[in-house]
């Protein structure tokens, strides 16, 4: 069943008098629980497509339909509400809040998403998620004392704690070494499948591609190839 569809998206940037079209009419559908990997050379428009789909920037033309609603016609507050409650984000850098402990990072996300839980249930949920990402033993640590891999695990836990419908991941393993990358890939794969979360990710990581249900190759702002996995 289609959860998310991107219809004829165009995005143009103006640099002085020069207009540059980054996305040239992209159409893509995401099914519930599906993992789609966006690949392509630098400047092909994959990160722009991901951020537009996530409501982090506007479109020049086209529609983004999420659960039957046209996000491109919504105002900033409506998009914020969707971002807070229905979307999760993992970026190249963990972007953790430096003055919050690991546990507080997750509690903040529950507060932001207005996820209706009592305080003790909230605590249990945080512990459960930290257990899933293997970070329960570091729940009182601040980001400055965590390794890159640990930070990214916490970022994944933060992105999924409020049980979003879609996870957007922009090169989540780019800042990690190969061992940590593999751990993070397995974690994303396992959690999104367990929680039935649709995932749209940008990656260059070949191992990550192995876990994707669909691989979409982009070049110069258009989809040049789409391959569904036989798994």
């Amino acid at each position: 069943m289609s959860l998310f569809s991107i219809n004829q998206i165009r995005k143009t940037f103006t640099n002085g008098e020069v207009e540059e079209e980054i996305l040239k009419g992209i159409t893509l559908t995401l099914k519930e629980g599906e993992i789609i990997a966006l690949v392509g050379a630098s400047g092909s428009g994959k990160s722009t497509l991901l951020t537009i789909a996530a409501g982090l920037q506007s479109v020049t033309d086209g529609q983004i339909i999420f659960e039957g609603k046209n996000m491109s016609a919504m105002n900033q507050e409506e998009i914020r509400k969707i971002r807070a409650s229905q979307f999760g984000f993992v970026f190249q850098f963990s972007h953790l809040v430096p003055f919050l402990t690991v546990e507080e990072q997750l509690q903040l996300m529950l507060d932001v998403s207005e996820y209706q839980l009592k305080k003790d249930e909230q605590k249990k949920e945080v512990n459960r998620m930290l257990e899933l990402v293997g970070m329960n033993h570091r729940k009182n640590a601040y980001p400055s004392s965590l390794s890159g891999g640990e930070k990214q695990r916490v970022a994944i836990a933060r992105a999924l704690i409020h049980q979003p419908k879609v996870l957007f991941a922009d090169e989540p393993t780019a800042s990690l070494d190969s061992k940590r990358s593999k751990e993070v890939i397995l974690l994303i794969r396992q959690l999104t499948k367990d929680l039935n979360i649709t995932t749209l990710m940008v990656t260059h990581d070949k191992e990550m591609l192995a876990f994707a249900d669909t691989i979409v190759k982009m070049s110069d702002g258009v989809i040049v190839h789409k391959k569904e996995s036989i798994k």
């Binding site: 982090l56 920037q57 914020r80 971002r83 807070a84 972007h95 809040v97 430096p98 507080e104 932001v112």
Partner: protein, 344 residues
Amino acid sequence: MNLAWKEMKRNKVRFLILGSIIFLISLLTFIISGLANGLSQDNASLINDLPEGHFYMSKDANQTYNLSQIEPDIQESLITKQSDTIALAIQMGFVHDPHNKQQSVAFVAATDSPIFDEVEAGEVILDSSMKEKGLKIGDIVTNTQLSGDLVVKGFVKHKKFSHAPVALINIEDYKEMYRVDKMQFIFIPGEQSSEKFNGYESFSKREFLQTIPSYNAEQMSLNMIVWFLVIISGMLFAIFFYMMNVQKIGLYGILKAIGLKTSKLFNMMWTQMMLITSSSLVCSIAASQLFNEIAPVEMPFRLTMSTTIQLSLVFFFIGFIGATLSGIQIKKIQPLQAIQQGEI
């Protein structure tokens, strides 16, 4: 989750430095303002401390109080009409203390009233600053123009005129010293509008103060100093809060990206501003009051509660403006910009 407090708790040193700067700026403003007010009070506390009312001087005195003369029949009729009316005279002069040292004073004579203590002929009540010069109750002071001596009957707090301590004397002694038989001006207490008397000019307290030589120029200079200081301190306040928040654009962008409401970001900035400003102001008010206690008596310092509250409100208002201006900048920031900036 109280993000404002959590950030302050985690970054204690950073916020302590900011608080110290705010403390020093506000302390400077309180001290300078207290000194300026003290100097102003030193010039005219005798008049400033009178209740609201109207002064009357003879028109031919051309608004110069020591050229003014009140006709005795007018004085009598006014006092009969309103019992708290006071006829006053002020002259600059000096007394010789028991060690034969000359001390400058402002001689004040007044008709009976609850505002001024009663002084018999041959007695004087002095401003308490004269205690510092070694005078005490029962001491005898003299004036070359007066045939008899003056016995110090007591002291009154903060009564100065034209920077000289007040010496309250009996009307008869005053008339003998200055070879006059009339008082200089009339003061009628009360909020009611001034009455018109033929040949006399009416002044409000504020207007009367302007007739004191040099008072106006001195006040303008003092007010200028205080307001310049308040404006510059205020700008520094606003700039500090602005810089503190603008430096955290990356953090605010990430919080926006995960869906935190902009109003919560504003609350975070305002809460931090309120916590830093109020704790800094409490410290600077306490320090300025301590300064008030330990400052030498010769140094005029007066920081009233109303001035303290006024200045504190100005600081809160300016801090609020600084935090809000940075909030507007942060409101404009796109979460994507922050994400693309890299790790915070």
